[in-house]
Amino acid sequence: MLLGRFMTDLQYIQVPLWYLPLLVLIPAAVAAGVVSWLGRRARTRVVPENDPDWSVPPLTQGRGQGTSLIHRWDVRCKILTMLAYSFAVASLRHLDAAALAVLFSLAVLMVARVSFHKVMLRLAALAGFMGMLLVVMPLTVPNHPGDTIVVFGSLDWLGVNVRGGILAATIAAKATAIALLMEPLLSTAPLPMTLYGLSRLGVPDMAGQMVLLSYRYLHVFTHEARRMTAGMQARGFAKKTNMDTLRALANFLGMLFVRSFERTERVFDAMQARGYKGRFPDPGQLQLRLSDIFIAGIWVAAGTGLVFFDWLKG
């Protein structure tokens, strides 16, 4: 391993072996428990079925139900600012800057007063990838001069590189900071409005309409898939690791596609029958006010501040 080459420049922290379960296994177990609990709770709240993964959280309910600053913010400003800010956060390299970004996002959450439950769902979705990074990176990052390695008792081969841990934690913090912003970005205006904002920003109209259509038919196909699963279960189908299962699932997918293509044709017919000629009508008017630009200014300042702070640290 690389361990030998940099041996001299590395700083070792020797801890007794029994720290290993304490420092690694217990947090890992707790994290796994929390994540699975969150996931299960989230799913049972949303789906009235036993196969959990087809839940589709509603993005917006009704119209203008919130009155917070973010809700009233012009949707074009919101998208532009938040996207630019997200990229700024994604470019950070230091843990403390990333942590600041998380704090800022939390503050925004407070202001926007969005559903805490949905925010939690998003974090739960992140947990898998982030957990993987947090476990893998400390163990696989090459040791550089100046790195601190934690060694448990006599287990030399299990050197935990603190730098790797910090790197993973920085990524996790950045991802969290951005994920926390998604809920204020998306659920403070009806989805069609947000997409209309995008189209006014130069994204082709059709793109937004396609998102809406996909979103709508997601629910329809989810129900179809559920009923088909029930149909298979009613004849004794249960998933196992074998060829029969794969074949049955392939049939299931095949039927799903056949039905979806047939439905696609019918939906298209229905659209044409009501006068669709390749364009969708616009959803409404947008008006830019001074306050919109002011809020955007605050965000830009925050983003620039973060990047500058990050740059100061080298």
Partner: protein, 603 residues
């Protein structure tokens, strides 16, 4: 958009032919005139070309040959674009039509395409939603609506465009009788031209004046609705004879009051009998204080105490959303609720619950949910293999079940390519092959044409095990079951012998199960179909081989007869003594006619 001058038809179809790209000839030589204000029922067997004709009328397909003229001009180019805004087409599945993000967005889609501003379109949409009584749900996303609500929202999307022509494809499919009545009233209130596809002649009889019968892609009859329903033999020829449904005694009698009383008396007896019956044979299914709560907190089933005995034929009725499907899902192990479920006396624990599929077989409402294999044989084997049977046994049972549902020899066919009735029977066959103790049918007649219903009925009548039938179809309930459970809001509120349920008009109307208009209409149709034997001179048109001197030939020709015969005919006055002279050409069997000597002129 010109105005209609004089008697010019709004639709003029001439020698219309259409073949699908895969070569199937859907329509051939169709001629049809539709006048403004007509209300036309488009009937025919599944696959007779009704939907194709409707698509051609609304310009979704282009004629392969011949013409479709709307207001005198053929449907293409700019005229088509304009016409689409005047021809409303309501699809069978409301999910095909509701593609908007919210209900109001969707309803406003048409008016926006008509060139209205955002505000004007929203106003139109709101008015249309008010007409269908959905204004409260305007900002909901369509997937949050119930099926009946979706159906009405889809109609609102059409009405908002104020169409001159309204074309409906199976408007009542999957609706419960209460919602069906609501829908019927909405459609009756529409004052433009109306074209309606349906298999439900009772519904059509209420809604339409004219009837067009399609048979294998061509028009066979084009006359009034009254004439159509009164001619049994014509109905029969086109697989539309629903009069086998009319033999229900319950529908005949108008003496409701007395029966109502009887019903109430019998009701309490039956309740007592079914609920407190600890002695006697062990019930096949026993539910004790059974409940089911959806994970989101809505109660699906509550306080269920229910016994179903071996061999019992039970019907389960209730409005959409009453909890019928949830109960079925619990009974065949797809869901597990609280409380106790006993099967043949064994309590179904969580583990045993997973094996309920071996004992209870469910035939789904929509076959597409149940059929997912590439061939009929695989489809049959799928469940049997999971029972752990040997290959030989599988093959044997599959063949037996296929024969039982009248699909012998279909092994190599693709289930997706079968007709609606065949698919239904295949789904039933798959379940029967697994030899369940309890057979559950969820709305077996949905989407079937009358011939398909008759074939299904024939199979089910020979079924001798325990049957649980969920249906809105009074005829199937009457014919197949002895006991009826009425569900409402997750509870079984009545448990009666089926004849009592049938006679209890009040109960039928209870909780949105208004069957009353159907009964009224059925009685009216029965009067139209009045049949008795009588004798008077009448004409026959025959086609049979006969001899004229040396030539033997066959051709249709007329004879005048005078002999006693039976036939179905109307009694306009309803009196016993009536005159049959106004219908000289009669349509009845004429056995032994070929042997009779006869003579006629040949030009």
């Amino acid at each position: 958009m010109g105005t209609i001058i004089g008697d010019m038809p709004i639709f003029c179809v001439r020698n219309l032919c259409y073949a699908y790209p895969d070569g199937i000839q859907a329509l051939s030589g169709v001629d049809l005139d539709i006048f403004s204000g007509d209300r036309i029922a488009l009937v025919g067997q599944n696959g007779s070309g009704k939907t194709t004709l409707v698509k051609l009328l609304s310009g979704l397909l282009a004629p392969g040959q011949g013409d479709v003229l709307y207001k005198g001009k053929s449907l293409d180019g700019e005229h088509l674009n304009n016409s689409r805004l005047n021809i409303g087409l309501l699809f069978q599945d409301p999910d095909d039509q509701l593609f908007g993000h919210t209900v109001i967005d969707d309803v406003a889609f048409g008016p926006r395409n008509q060139g209205k501003s955002g505000k004007a379109a929203a106003l139109c949409a709101k008015q249309a939603l008010h007409r269908v009584n959905l204004e409260k749900l305007a900002y909901k996303e369509p997937h949050n609506l119930s099926y009946g609500q979706k159906k009405r929202a889809a109609l609102a999307g059409i009405l908002a465009m104020e169409p001159e022509v309204l074309i409906l494809d199976e408007p009542t499919g999957n609706l419960d009788p209460g919602q069906e009545a609501v829908f019927l009233d909405l459609l009756k209130a529409f004052d433009g031209t109306l074209i309606c596809i349906s298999h439900d002649l009772i519904f059509l009889y209420e809604l339409c004046q004219k009837a067009v019968v399609l048979h294998h892609g061509s028009i066979h009859h084009n006359y009034t609705m009254r004439e159509l329903v009164s001619q049994r033999s014509a109905l029969r020829d086109h697989g539309l004879d629903f009069s086998f449904r009319m033999t229900i005694p319950a529908i005949e009698m108008p003496a409701h009051e007395e029966n109502g009383k009887n019903g109430c008396g019998a009701l309490s007896d039956a309740d007592a009998g079914a609920l407190n019956n600890p002695s006697g044979p062990l019930p096949l299914v026993r539910l004790e204080n059974y409940g089911y709560v959806y994970p989101d907190g809505t109660p699906g089933l509550q306080d269920l105490f229910l016994h179903i005995h071996e061999g019992e034929k039970t019907a389960l009725v209730g409005e959409n959303g009453a909890g019928k499907s949830t109960l079925l899902a619990c009974l065949c192990g797809l869901r597990q609720g609280s409380g106790d479920l006993f099967f043949k006396g064994t309590r179904m624990t969580r583990k045993r619950h997973k094996d309920l599929w071996r004992r209870a077989g469910l035939v789904f409402q929509d076959c597409a949910d149940q059929l997912f294999c590439a061939s009929v044989k695989e489809e049959m084997i799928f469940g049997l293999r999971r029972l752990g049977l040997s290959t030989d046994e599988c093959r044997h049972r599959a063949a037996a079940a296929l024969a039982r549902v009248g699909l012998a020899g279909f092994e190599k066919r693709v289930p997706l390519h079968l007709s609606g009735g065949e698919r239904k029977r295949l789904a039933l066959g798959c379940v029967l092959a697994m030899d369940p103790d309890l057979l559950i049918l969820d709305e077996p007649t949905a989407g079937l044409d009358p011939r398909g219903e008759e074939q299904l009925m024939a199979i089910l009548e020979t079924f001798d095990k325990t049957l649980l039938l969920v249906s809105h179809d009074l005829f199937f309930i009457e014919k197949l079951t002895h006991r009826t459970l009425v569900m409402h809001q997750g509870r079984v509120i009545r448990d009666l012998p089926t004849p009592v349920f049938m006679q209890d008009d009040k109960l039928c109307r209870f909780n949105g199960l208004s069957f009353s208009y159907r009964q009224r209409t059925a009685t009216a149709i029965r009067q139209l179909q009045h049949e008795h034997e009588h004798r008077h001179p009448h004409l026959h048109i025959h086609d049979h081989t006969h001899r004229h001197g040396r030539t033997v030939h066959a051709h249709p020709h007329e004879h005048l007869h005078d002999h006693p015969h039976r036939f179905v005919h109307t009694h306009p006055g309803g009196t016993k003594t009536h005159d049959h002279a106004h219908r000289l050409v009669h349509d009845h069997d004429h056995p032994g006619h070929e042997a009779e000597p006869h003579d006629h002129s040949h030009e």
